[in-house]
Symmetry: D2
Amino acid sequence: MKSYAPQKIKTLGKCTIDSPMVKDSHNREHTAEIFVCDQSVTMAQNVFCPRDDKGECEQRCNSSTETAFKFYELAGPREKIYFDPSKVRAGIVTCGGLCPGLNDVVRSIVLGLRNNYGVKNIYGFRYGFQGFVPDYGHDVVMLTPDVVDGWQDIGGTCLGSSRGPQKPDVMVNCLEQLAVNMLFVIGGDGTMQGAMAIANEVENRGLKISVVGVPKTIDNDIVIIDETFGFQTAVNAARDVLRCAHVESKGIPNGIGLVKLMGRDSGFIACQAALAMSDVNFVLIPEQPFKLEGEGGFLNALHKRLLRRKHAVIAVAEGAGQDLLEAETETDASGNRRLGDIGLFLKDKINDYFEKIDFETSVKYMDPSYIVRSIPANAHDSTYCFSLGHDAVHAAMAGRTEMIVGKVKHNICHIPMAHIAGKRKKVDLYSPLWRLVLESTGQSVVFE
Amino acid sequence: MKSYAPQKIKTLGKCTIDSPMVKDSHNREHTAEIFVCDQSVTMAQNVFCPRDDKGECEQRCNSSTETAFKFYELAGPREKIYFDPSKVRAGIVTCGGLCPGLNDVVRSIVLGLRNNYGVKNIYGFRYGFQGFVPDYGHDVVMLTPDVVDGWQDIGGTCLGSSRGPQKPDVMVNCLEQLAVNMLFVIGGDGTMQGAMAIANEVENRGLKISVVGVPKTIDNDIVIIDETFGFQTAVNAARDVLRCAHVESKGIPNGIGLVKLMGRDSGFIACQAALAMSDVNFVLIPEQPFKLEGEGGFLNALHKRLLRRKHAVIAVAEGAGQDLLEAETETDASGNRRLGDIGLFLKDKINDYFEKIDFETSVKYMDPSYIVRSIPANAHDSTYCFSLGHDAVHAAMAGRTEMIVGKVKHNICHIPMAHIAGKRKKVDLYSPLWRLVLESTGQSVVFE
Amino acid sequence: MKSYAPQKIKTLGKCTIDSPMVKDSHNREHTAEIFVCDQSVTMAQNVFCPRDDKGECEQRCNSSTETAFKFYELAGPREKIYFDPSKVRAGIVTCGGLCPGLNDVVRSIVLGLRNNYGVKNIYGFRYGFQGFVPDYGHDVVMLTPDVVDGWQDIGGTCLGSSRGPQKPDVMVNCLEQLAVNMLFVIGGDGTMQGAMAIANEVENRGLKISVVGVPKTIDNDIVIIDETFGFQTAVNAARDVLRCAHVESKGIPNGIGLVKLMGRDSGFIACQAALAMSDVNFVLIPEQPFKLEGEGGFLNALHKRLLRRKHAVIAVAEGAGQDLLEAETETDASGNRRLGDIGLFLKDKINDYFEKIDFETSVKYMDPSYIVRSIPANAHDSTYCFSLGHDAVHAAMAGRTEMIVGKVKHNICHIPMAHIAGKRKKVDLYSPLWRLVLESTGQSVVFE
Amino acid sequence: MKSYAPQKIKTLGKCTIDSPMVKDSHNREHTAEIFVCDQSVTMAQNVFCPRDDKGECEQRCNSSTETAFKFYELAGPREKIYFDPSKVRAGIVTCGGLCPGLNDVVRSIVLGLRNNYGVKNIYGFRYGFQGFVPDYGHDVVMLTPDVVDGWQDIGGTCLGSSRGPQKPDVMVNCLEQLAVNMLFVIGGDGTMQGAMAIANEVENRGLKISVVGVPKTIDNDIVIIDETFGFQTAVNAARDVLRCAHVESKGIPNGIGLVKLMGRDSGFIACQAALAMSDVNFVLIPEQPFKLEGEGGFLNALHKRLLRRKHAVIAVAEGAGQDLLEAETETDASGNRRLGDIGLFLKDKINDYFEKIDFETSVKYMDPSYIVRSIPANAHDSTYCFSLGHDAVHAAMAGRTEMIVGKVKHNICHIPMAHIAGKRKKVDLYSPLWRLVLESTGQSVVFE
């Protein structure tokens, strides 16, 4: 039995209150059956290779061994909850860069609180963590189903956002002042670290405020979870831009379509979008360093491609080839390392290379980041956001705190914030994803 | 160890030939590492409740017990393959109704055969199984990368399709005549039964022809696999129609937007699209019978909704409420039971109901099926189709037969055709999906 | 000089007040130059054939003669206006069926009133003319720039609409009660007749209320003006459906894609959308009766097409072939003649025809009307609506009444309501439009 | 009568051959009536102000006087044609930058030649004028309806393009060698000058080769004609990017969305797209110089806007504010003046300005040019391209040469190439278009 024990989730206390969902929302005969039982778990890893005693696969495969078993508590409504719904005062904040689905998540939290639990006091904090800090002078918005009506069709965040942390004690002061006892934080890695600092301060003060996160990163680089919301919408938009690059490259002799896509540390968007188009000839990602010059280098491979087909399409993630640039050491407001611009760097290198050998080409360079991230969520992501928002509400009502909701092998679970903070999921170079990219592009660049 | 044994896949014989992918396609130092090892498996079920000894959860939950463990062989390229690539003559056929991604799968198979294995003889059979039958007089098309160029941007199937089976011996005659030793069959449940009949006839004749399926159903009702290709594209299109219905319903006093969506036996499209919009007020699916008349019946609930909000949106799967119709017993060419038209039936019932009580409404009825299924695949589905097509090729090259490729908890696997034939995945009324539909709609219809 | 005299527009009185636009909105050196002069006109007809003295062209052409000259007053801001902006109380109402751009027009009127003239009291009447009638109990909405924010991205009408007239005296009572002195009416032919009745009642009572119309008809059948707003958006959506029909028709042997498009009396959508796709094989419109049966009839021509190409696409306007149906005599709430359903009629006739001769076909029938009309306006229509709304405001401020704004040969003008009421623009069978349809389809149906 | 004489179009000789369209394509009773008569004309200017004797409007309006009358020959099929269709060998070439609709025009020419006149020899030259020059070694493609099937759904040009002229005698050598007697040239201003050089060389050699142009410029800056094909599609795409900019600007405190749009010399795309969104706050175009610094300068106005609303959206045409840059003197391959990058320039200036006054903002800069121009045509542009291509064919068959087809006040006409060469249509600062931009943005920048 022990092997099924889920990863420990912090709670504010025992759940003793009957969920109002029993009587209000559904009218099945056996209403209890809509609830998730307290023991149900999902398994985080499900690919196995039954290796020999030394833990080695004869074929040197990459599948996990049994010891990797890890379980997470399933998300969903509980029969018994921690908070008295009539006393809940909830807050919602969106932080960091834009991502499709932000408004869907906010709307879903509002609808989940109101429709399932009858919660009426829901505050929207403006412009990220700035919204908790009096100095900035931002308003607090009351959120109701009417206010969030239609938000699922609007890109970006209607609450506004900002980058960077604020002082935990100032933020918790604000929560206390508004008597908020349930805070929903939507943001990326830095934001979740900020949320943990809030939760910590809350605990130090002996307060009972649930802090639940919905992780947001358009790069899809959160560990453990299958996929972050907005990622598929972004891939779809990126695919459309790659199609434009393909059209441009074919429209002129030796045309080169060069598209810089998001992906600071992880090349998921570039890989997925390139597979979706499958007319991309080179995919360059942070995880796979590559040689630029010389036989078998990228420029040489590009030259060969042009000689063979008269056009080429390149998808490069913004974090690729950073070793090739003199990496700048500055960091931005969120504490992220500033990246040198690999897109413009490659554009220059390509132009130089072909000018030197007097080979006429035309590079069409596209940097569509803002266009990709500011559109409304597609249906898949809207559905996913709706689920995440509702399950975040259920988790908070059941007193869970310092945790996030996320899909793990197709099931939404509760995951301790500490499990994802400070980590980044990367494209596994031995995974089917990268293998398919290699099969699709046939790229013969020498990787190092 | 035994517990990791995957479900048995039929093979044509031992794999003794070195894969050409080792030397041709990639230039990693350790090329072997792109291959999938022969023992790797994925687990089909990953939600568990550690019940008591009697196998009962105190909270009557729906999660599986340990005994449900089942493993499937991972898909992907093998280091040793069965067929000598230079002797492969492949055939591809698409059957049944249209579905986004059909052309993507065909194109991916062509590219996978050509680019990874150098296969040059690839036949496209026209108009489904009819293409194997001389009487119909359809051409056979030679497929090359040039021929399938751009197919990923075209809806439907460029090969054409048809419904219904043809005689296995006639079809195998055709395969023999063209010396085809590898057949890729893309189609639904009926098609897979046809493919099994072909595989059976092939075996009876002692031939060595690999028959590999890629299951296609826009309803997403194939058991075992996570999701069928094209499903998300269809959901996205259905969501857009639901948005139109919402706009129409709000444009007139007591406007009712009534949308019939695909789903003969399974309401997945209706559920997912309704969650993506989350302005839908009633979702009616085949899995959940409902009461039409009387207190708490659908019409009464609709009436209450209109009194409260002056408009309503209804998503009804085509297979819903069949008990309410005098189900016709006819079957169509594919052997599917003919459904009575629940959409028009409801439209009439709604109009009658409100006319009787002299309550002015306006029903806007939409039946967008063809529009939903004939569009090109979105990026997600294109990527999925690209993966499926390539993995189908790898499976066939490795001599697997009478199997399909499909994603099982995020990993593409080999699944015996017999495991999916004649079965249908349904919306589990105790799953998070249906729960979220109930939370989103707040529909208070009495279900029976 | 006399020949330039524009068509007479009714006015409430002399314009004596300085437009606030002089000082507020622009800071050009010569501010007067933003205003339209009082004599400027546009010419309604600009294709001429200099015929012989008898007025006959040797080549029997269709171009107009000089005598058709007709001029309309140009729309735009006037230097002197009739109303004191501080005393304006405006009303806006949308009537009839949905059409892309309705919200854009409303929003533009609100922005035009507020930003150019500082008008603050703007009422939105709900649900068409019903909104003026106390019995219905609909609210009146205050419209501000904040309220209409984002409306350009929403389909349908946020004000709601309804069909059919209401009593003029009841409606003018409502206007008097609210002290509205400027009414903007957005709707079709019936609506404009209603607006004329209001203007008449206003005049009878000696009131000074400007009544300005913005004609709306997705069928593009308003006489005089180039094109109605929303038409191009509808054509674009209809084209997408025709593409689906094309895909469906090619997906099965002898597939027939049959699409019913809007167009009660005028086939503009069918013609334009068919040209945009130019893979449509038959276009049937109300203006051109056709033979169904017999040699050279539609069914025979369709048969020949299928024998030649194995698939066919048909675009049929809803008002086509009404003589072939036993036309029902009912009228709908707007007083429009109820049309028999030519789409279902043709579907049945086609099926019967081919069943009789034992020729297997498959008709895919699509009726996308609601989907075509409830989407948001495309950029062209949004721009057009923005212009119309602003020019409607300028006209009303200058005291014009019982008139509409509309584009005449590329210039927005003032047109008396009486000029368009009760008339319908039709597809001219000798125009380039219909000629191009014949060239594109090559349809060899015998027209009668 | 004389006043109706159209602008003189060059012809190769007298039209003496009966058009095959009489008997083949249509079966009206009076087939002649599909033809355009030889005298029909359209009028180029249709806005008039009946000024006083000195030609001055009291209100200093901008409308034309009567003396501006100018007529153009209507396009369309002629009853008598110049070329014997069986002897026609046609060539098609696309030149210059990409523009939505290029493939539509090519396809329409192919269909028009084949379906209306039975022409079978149609050559597609690859990569613009390079395709005529043997040194480049590009293939010539045979174009048939099958080859161009589906091209209307593909962006860019399937024939390829290039910039810059080639020697006329080399090009005419190529035409002679292939016995081409009809050349269709699709391109911009430089291309039309190249076409005139070809026509000139053809005339000098005494050849009978018709040279007909279809003007292409995404900037919509061709004089005389209403609008160039692809323009509306580009505006629609640009509008979508402006919407993204709006979302980005609202997502962060003092967010600034800065979008550089196409428009070297003319700001039509920026103006139209800004009106379509009508949430744009500043529109900067080449036609209207503006002050950057100081009270009332752009930066000061932007500051005021941010203080008032916390976000701002700017649309800047690439040719705007060139006086503010140190204009570079280089020219590109087409002989166009190289523009300094106003987008990056403004971005830097804005950042500098607000840094200096320590006012935190965030500029989101977008340069979507390739994305805007490489997409397929929308329905309106597809229809327009279909018309242009067919009318270009009719003109060439009737022996017209050194002319273009284009829409003039809603009617497609024949226009001498010399009338448009070397000129550029500009946004008239006293037109309704610019007036509406000022009304919509309320931009209070001091223009100079």
